[in-house]
């Protein structure tokens, strides 16, 4: 800290949070891991040794069909002779895209609704809480499948929307709880007494303070969303072939487990676990780091 420079109170808090975060080894590990996945996704064209869509069996014949991991293909090949390592790298793109976009949809829908419910209470709260409870009661997974089926066209956009439209309830709940606890605070009363317009109070004053747990939830949520997409793809309702979706690869590879060709189904699962782990560590770390802020 340089002497003489005045910091605002919130900057102090943020700096403390960062220090706390840095000390948490798991959180740092999560950060590094998440970055590695992002880098893999971004630099996939450079890192991947083969074209993930190129089916080598038509030119190289039987020997590249379901070939075990070897020097030429580090993680083996699948039924069509496609290199699994390359597909996993490109698959990171699909998973991250889904994670990010579905999260954005969840936030765009969940935060405003939660804020409205929490701030205004009364009928708005009753109505929105009712909607949240109804959606929450559905067997989550089946609901998404049904939504995908309704929207009929199985494209990636549809899937982001479907997941986002079901996932927003978690975000809304937390936002609502935050708004309920924050709206009675002095700074809000002060703002009201000053005659500031409601929307300003909500967005400029309360929201920034409410965001911390929402961000934690969203980060951990990315992991959850990636798993949901994998599950959808596994059941056949997600990404379409020949997309190198991790869930799809597990689904395609599972029937060969019994005859000893395990690499197709197992490696993508490791990729999913790694990625979700990364975001979970990150989320945990963020929560611990921001904890003191929350407790205050």
């Amino acid at each position: 800290m340089t002497a003489g420079k005045k910091r605002s109170a919130s900057a102090d808090l943020r700096y403390e949070a960062w220090l706390r975060f840095r000390r948490n080894r798991l959180a740092l590990a999560g950060l590094v891991m998440a970055l590695s996945v992002i880098l893999a996704a971004v630099f996939a064209p450079v890192l991947a040794p083969y074209d993930p869509l190129k089916q080598l069996i038509w030119t190289q014949g039987r020997e590249v069909r379901l070939a075990a991991p070897s020097a030429a293909h580090l993680l083996g090949t699948d039924l069509f002779g496609r290199d699994i390592l390359s597909r996993i790298l490109y698959g990171a793109r699909i998973s991250l895209q889904i994670g990010i976009f579905a999260t954005i949809v969840s936030l765009l829908v969940g935060v405003p609704l939660g804020a409205l419910a929490g701030y205004f209470g009364g009928f708005a709260d009753d109505a929105i809480s009712w909607l949240i409870n109804v959606i929450f009661a559905f067997p989550f997974f089946l609901f998404i499948i049904a939504v995908v089926a309704v929207l009929q066209n199985p494209s990636m956009t549809v899937i982001y929307l479907a997941i986002g439209l079901v996932n927003w309830v978690g975000v809304a709940r937390i936002t609502r709880a935050q708004f309920i606890s924050l709206r009675e605070r002095e700074f809000v009363e002060a703002a009201r007494a000053l005659g500031l317009p409601t929307w300003r109070i909500i967005f400029v004053h309360i929201l920034p303070n409410a965001l911390a747990p929402v961000i934690v939830q969203a980060t951990m949520g990315i992991g959850g969303i990636i798993m949901i997409e994998a599950g959808l793809a596994f059941l056949g309702f997600g990404a379409q072939p020949p997309a190198p979706s991790w869930g799809l690869m597990i689904s395609d590879g599972q029937k060969y487990l019994a005859v000893g060709k395990w690499w197709w189904a197992i490696f993508p699962g490791l990729a999913i676990t790694y990625t979700v782990l990364a975001f979970n560590f990150l989320g945990d770390g963020l929560r611990d780091a921001l904890d003191a802020r929350l407790k205050r």
Binding site: L131, F138, P139, F143, I145, A146, Q254
Partner: protein, 308 residues
């Protein structure tokens, strides 16, 4: 107390109605004509019209909705398009399998989760703590269907010490892999929550008092700390049960377990409207009722909650 219970139940009813209506809407707007499917691949328009009329599909939507609500109130969930069984009967048959799976998964998850959580809290920052928590996070991060496949690969196909998928003859051996698979995630969640609750509690004053009174560590932990940490842990167990019961779809699919989750996916693919409606409502009801019971019990246990 009574007003608390009443309030909870009164909130319950509109949610149930909401669920029922959303299900109806969803099922109606999902494309795909069940009558067409019943005809098999080759179809002829007159037969199609007749089947549709038999199924009541040619009535206007509002009429169908009223009929649907009426049947529901009488407890009639309809008859499956696929095999003419009563949906309610079919659900009860399959629910038994799901219940069995969920029950044992919950027992396993609770036992392992709580013990691991307590031990980790007591030995905070030890090797045990770090490893247990790492495994727990991994357990939450690994996709459940992949875990299932991995277990199948190792134990059923590789070492061949456990049978593969399916209900088999109903013996407990077929239960092991699906239970472990399904229980992994709840176990991990419970472990983490128990640990953090225990840590919170153990830093409280009354624990220090108990220790200074000379009580052994074990008594302190088990009698005093644990009981108080139990409350939120209880809640999580409750919600997990609800989630598990309402269809462990992925686990049931991998292990070909004849439960409600799998039944619903099959019904979805076959556009078996009554079965889809019936099973989704069934599962939602189970979820809501379980949560309601947990809420009510929470109110019983902790008087502070009642005045919420």
């Amino acid at each position: 107390m009574l007003s608390y219970v009443l309030r909870k139940i009164l909130y319950f009813i509109p949610v149930v109605w909401g669920v029922v209506t959303v299900v109806f809407i969803l099922v109606t707007i999902v494309p795909g004509d069940p009558a067409r499917l019943l005809m098999g691949q080759r179809g002829d328009p007159e037969t199609l019209a007749r089947i549709r009329s038999d199924l009541g599909l040619d009535l206007p939507i509002s009429r169908q909705y009223i009929r649907f609500l009426g049947d529901l109130l009488r407890g009639d969930l309809g008859t499956s398009y696929r095999n003419n069984e009563k949906v309610a009967a079919s659900l009860m048959e399959h629910f038994g399998a799901t219940l069995r799976l969920a029950f044992w998964a919950m027992i396993l998850a609770s036992v392992i989760g709580v013990s691991a959580g307590i031990l980790s809290a007591v030995k905070q920052y030890s090797l045990f703590d770090y490893s247990a928590m790492f495994i727990a996070v991994a357990g939450v991060s690994a996709p459940v269907f992949w875990v299932g496949l991995l277990l199948l690969l190792i134990f059923a196909y590789g070492l061949q010490i456990l049978p593969g998928v399916g209900y088999g003859d109903g013996s407990w051996r077929y239960l092991i892999l699906p239970v472990v698979t399904l229980g992994t995630r709840p176990a991990a969640l419970i472990a983490r929550l128990t640990r953090s609750c225990m840590l919170d509690v153990m830093n409280q004053d009354y624990i220090r008092t108990a220790r200074s009174k000379g009580l052994t560590e074990r008594v302190v932990v088990l009698k005093h700390a644990f009981k108080n940490a139990l409350i939120p842990v209880n809640t999580i167990i409750g919600t997990q049960v609800a989630e598990l019961l309402s269809g462990a779809v992925l686990t049931e699919t991998i292990f070909a377990w004849p439960g409600v989750g799998r039944l619903t996916v099959e019904a979805l693919v076959a556009r078996d409207f009554p079965m889809i409606r019936g099973s989704v409502i069934f599962m939602a009801l189970i979820f809501l009722v379980t949560n309601l019971l947990v809420d009510l019990s929470y109110g019983l246990v902790d008087p502070r909650i009642r005045y919420d």
